[in-house]
Amino acid sequence: MPVTASIMDDDDAVRWAVRLDAGPLDEAEQAALDAWIAADEQRAGALLRAEATLAYLDRGRALAPLQHEEAEPYEEEAPPRFGRRLFLVGGALGGICAAGLGGFMLWPGQDEGGLPARGQEIATIRGEVRRVPLADGSFASLNTASRIEVAMGQGRRRVRLDQGEVWFQVAHDRTRPFVVEAGDVRVQAVGTAFSVRLRNGGADVLVTEGAVETWVVGRESQRTRLAAGSRGFVSGAALRTEVAQAPEAVDRALAWRVGDIALNGEPLSHAVAEINRYNERQLVIGDPALAREPLVGYFRTNDPENFARAVAAMMGGHVRSEGRTIRIER
């Protein structure tokens, strides 16, 4: 019986895939498709398989160009290429870059950009997410347990990320480059929105608007440019920068700005580590296999109890609360 049923579903899936390929559905067709999908959970998978197979065959049309589109992480040879491009950009902007570089060379000699010796410190406690206006008209949204020091000078704007993760909306001001320092990693923007998260051995950089340039102290000539919708891991220790073009992933990764965590197939262990950043009550996974289960959905970052219950319901486990920990077990 199940065999026949699934074969019939496959046939229907094929028909829908071909129909979708022919052109947009009218209202009645769309309703019929929605009803067909809703009737059996498996059908969404069967339809995707059929549609994706057509898409696979389409590669016959333009396979060679497609190969170049893949935005795989850049390897060692990437920085020089970006260095060249930076040079061109610098020319176009009429020496802004040169000014930036100059400022940067003299960096340890404090005063060059007219920066105050000590900046303004802004911090969030665990579980707190805060959007703070800065003196230059920019905004900094601090994620949980984060700390920055902001110094605004006449020649440049500097933010030191001491802990955690911050999303910046940078006020446009070409005469004063906006540079975030995260360990050895530097991220420079002119008028842009981007986030920086301090990591072991480097920093995650996510760009939501405009573009930024990042580099590592000691390797100033090798800059990597990140455009809107891309994310990069810049590592001081390994002297490498990985860049991926992933606008949706960037949006998801910044869901914390509205108190959410967005999961798209990441393992439970990842979700738990993320949610634990926000709460005193810590989630613990009692089963290694459970830890590897992929999760999809939006969850509140400040409600570990409900998250645990939702996960347990989905994966057939149960929840045990003991003091400051919430255990998810099989």
Binding site: S6, R19, D21, A44, G45, A52, T53, L57, R59, A244
Partner: protein, 194 residues
Amino acid sequence: MRQSRREVVAWVGSNIVPHEADLRARLRRMAVPEQEISDIVQDAYLQLSKLEGIGHIGNGRAYFFKTARMSLLQRIRRDKIVRIDSMTEMEALTLEDQDPGPERQVSARLELARVRALIDALPDRCREIFELRRIEGVPQREIAERLGIPEHTVEAQACRGLKLILKALAGEGPGNNRTISNRKVDASDSQHHG
């Protein structure tokens, strides 16, 4: 949502579909019954269909195998797999993408050849339509005009061709081991083999 779904479909088409035959072959070597294999593969596509984006998946092939492993484990635990001879969880865990070699970076030329071979294997009318639609990118309506046949005939041929290609990708085409559930599939489509 709709647009991101299109992106997911395109990504699945170029990063998952090419590896389906390998995954099925691997499951067959583990002596998983044919119907279970189909369900596991379907399950993996279902998981993918739930994603809103695929940006976080670096390696489609590894992700595909991982999802399948998860599904296989769940089946063993919930006894969905009635009885796979001596299959244990430990064995299920060995379902990994163990051959990351050249297959993962199939050259454009080789992949093109695979796509071509799939289309070439179709019956005449089918093949003609697939060449026009998939390789030359001619819209369905225009294909009907060019060939002087009604559009619904083009659509019917496209369905027939897609079914055959899905079967070929599943490794159920000629030359592969057939099982009971395959025979059922074949029976429903036997006119294509005559």
